[in-house]
């Protein structure tokens, strides 16, 4: 490609144009994300003309259809936090242990079976899991524990746990699998057992990946909609016990949006709830991104 050759010059320009085009398309994700933020705020902020931010976030009463209405989402936030926390108590050990099993313990053949199982578990539609929680788990809980309703915090957390296990498991497994073999070999050569090597070497070396996995798993749980809509029970109150019915934020949005008058206060309040929910997951994702970049294990040098 000598300079001045018009054909070559043309081709160079064309290549640059194509490169530019692909760059523009690649920004689609950021543009979509920005539009999501923009429209959430556009439709959500008007509620703060009626109630203050503080009263909205900390108000304990959510009676959007009474007269006068109460728009306090504290109970909804607490419900979301509670189901996510309880779900994490189940999903973190289960997910990380399955990841260690896949990366370290399982034979190659078993791995080829268990991995697809985890992937299929991730693929189960949330509405099906919610349905299962409603018709199977709820009556079972009601009979076994003799509680008022089987549609409660615990049931929702249990179903959510199984939805976040695949996320936690697959990201943790990648991290554990990526630990350099020299590290393990050194530990084994010093006489440590395989388990001691996992506990003292492999897990510390992959802790940033495991943390990322846990955070993203929790993010998935707090944002999950259909499960909490169908099995959490729907009572907008701050939960006092594990078996109280609750109404997490996504459930409130999904259940009420259809009835909320278009661009009325209730509609704005639901979008504002969407902002709060989005803020939670956005924060989780930023922290996950930070952790995975900042504490990335680079070879053996930083251990």
């Amino acid at each position: 490609m000598t300079k001045g050759d018009p054909k070559a010059e043309n081709r160079r320009k064309q290549e640059q144009g194509i490169r530019m085009l692909f760059f523009l398309i690649a920004t689609a994700s950021i543009i979509t994300l920005s539009l999501i933020v923009l429209f959430l705020f556009m439709e959500g902020l008007p509620i703060f003309k009626k109630v203050s931010v503080k009263a909205f976030l900390l108000g304990k009463l959510w009676y959007p259809t009474s007269d006068p209405p109460d728009f306090g989402i504290f109970a909804l936030i607490m419900a979301s936090v509670a189901v996510t926390a309880v779900a994490s108590l189940i999903s973190i050990p289960l997910g990380v242990m399955t990841a260690v099993y896949l990366a370290e313990v399982a034979s190659w053949r078993l791995r080829e079976v268990v991995k697809p199982v985890v992937e299929l578990l991730a693929a189960l539609p949330s509405v099906v899991i919610g349905f299962f929680g409603m018709v199977v788990v709820a009556p079972l809980l009601q009979d076994l524990l003799n509680v008022a309703t089987g549609l409660n915090l615990f049931n929702a957390a249990l179903m959510l746990a199984f939805m976040s296990v695949p996320t936690i498991c697959s990201i943790s497994e990648d991290a554990i699998f990526g630990v350099p073999a020299e590290l393990k070999e050194a530990s084994l050569a010093l006489g440590a057992t395989h388990w001691e090597t996992i506990w003292r070497v492999v897990i510390p070396a992959s802790i940033s990946g495991i943390s990322t996995a846990v955070i993203l798993g929790m993010s998935r749980a707090i944002g999950e909609t259909m499960v909490v809509l169908m099995v959490a029970g729907g009572a907008a109150m701050v939960p006092a016990s594990l078996f109280d019915p609750v109404r997490p934020m996504p459930a409130s949005i999904a259940a009420e949006m259809a009835e909320a008058p278009f661009r009325g206060d209730h509609y704005y309040a639901l979008f504002a709830t969407g902002i709060v929910l989005f803020a939670f997951t956005f924060l989780f994702n930023l922290v996950a991104d930070y952790v995975s970049n900042k504490y990335r294990q680079v070879g053996a040098a930083t251990l």
Binding site: I30, F162, G274
Partner: protein, 302 residues
């Protein structure tokens, strides 16, 4: 992986002095817990699937699959839901596949490490983390109201397209990564330009992997409920969709409505089981196809 299994075997077979036997037992106990954890996952999947198959297969017959709902949805079939879900998920792929593959090509073939790349990746990761109900709110505010599409197949497909975009980008990038650099070097060495190389060499080689991602995307879109609740799906519509601006019925939304909103929840139980079974057969089937196809691809690559 293979070496690790060999190391493991060596440890198990070595004679442990009495002093250290406790450590060996501890390992066996801990590993037992790990195995149990893996089994619990399998059991969860097995229980959900067998339960739905056992309860749902009696509802499934030719009428169920080929007739619209009748008698205010207490009888009849789910044909409009099947068609609606197929239209929505294929529509979402028409949106997400070109954009997703092009994004992946930029990220893997063109982009150089730097702040711009970090920003795009951050955008994709955060988009992947947006709750599905927030996608629903966005679709309602942007596509349905602002773009004046109304509750329609089009608005639903676009919303689902935005939701599946990160899935498509992720799998397309993996497919591009699997194309050996020697392919690119050979093509460039013959004097082809970068774009000619991508179009004639890289994309054909990555196509099977990209296709796997598209199948996974269809499966994901087919199972989502919250994003279509306010943008495309309705309780009931007597006609099949004939234009992009029609409202549609959809399998996941149908399950939700029958199970929670109807006055005759108990009476339609068998329809709910049947619909749920059709949905998981569709979704898990697509995923199984993708998993098997991918496993065969990897074997071929090796």
């Amino acid at each position: 992986m293979k070496e690790s299994a060999e190391i493991q075997r060596a440890i198990h077979s070595s004679a442990w002095p009495d002093k250290h036997r406790g450590r060996a037992y501890l390992q066996q106990v801990v590993f037992l817990f790990f195995r149990v954890a893996a089994v619990v996952n399998g059991l969860a999947l097995l229980i959900v699937v067998t339960f739905l198959v056992a309860k749902g297969y009696t509802a499934i017959n030719w009428t169920f699959l080929t007739q619209p709902p009748m008698d205010s949805m207490t009888k009849g079939g789910i044909l409009p839901c099947i068609i609606g879900t197929l239209c929505l998920s294929l529509g979402s792929m028409l949106v997400a596949l070109p954009i997703g593959v092009a994004s992946a090509i930029y990220l893997h073939e063109y982009a150089r490490p730097g702040r711009g790349l970090r920003l795009i990746r951050l955008g994709i990761n955060n988009l992947a983390g947006v709750p599905s109900v927030v996608f629903g709110l966005f679709g309602l505010a942007f596509f349905v109201v602002y773009m004046k599409m109304g509750t329609s197949l089009l608005a639903g497909s676009l919303t689902l397209g935005a939701l599946t975009l990160p899935v498509i980008i992720g799998s397309a990038e993996e497919a591009l990564r699997a194309v050996p650099d020697t392919y690119r070097e050979a093509s460039l060495g013959l004097g082809a330009t970068k774009w000619q190389t991508i179009w004639r060499v890289v994309i054909p080689a990555a196509l099977p992997g990209i296709l796997t991602g598209a199948i996974l995307g269809v499966g994901r879109a087919a199972g989502e409920t919250a994003p279509i609740m306010f943008t495309a799906a309705v309780f009931f519509t007597p006609s099949l969709p004939s234009s992009l601006f029609d409202e549609v019925m959809a399998l996941p939304y149908h399950i939700y409505v029958l199970a929670t909103a109807g006055t005759e929840i108990e009476k339609t139980r068998h329809l709910q089981y049947g619909t749920a079974l059709v949905l998981i057969v569709l979704v898990l089937g697509l995923n199984l196809i993708a998993i098997i196809y991918r496993a065969r691809l990897r074997r071929k690559m090796r």
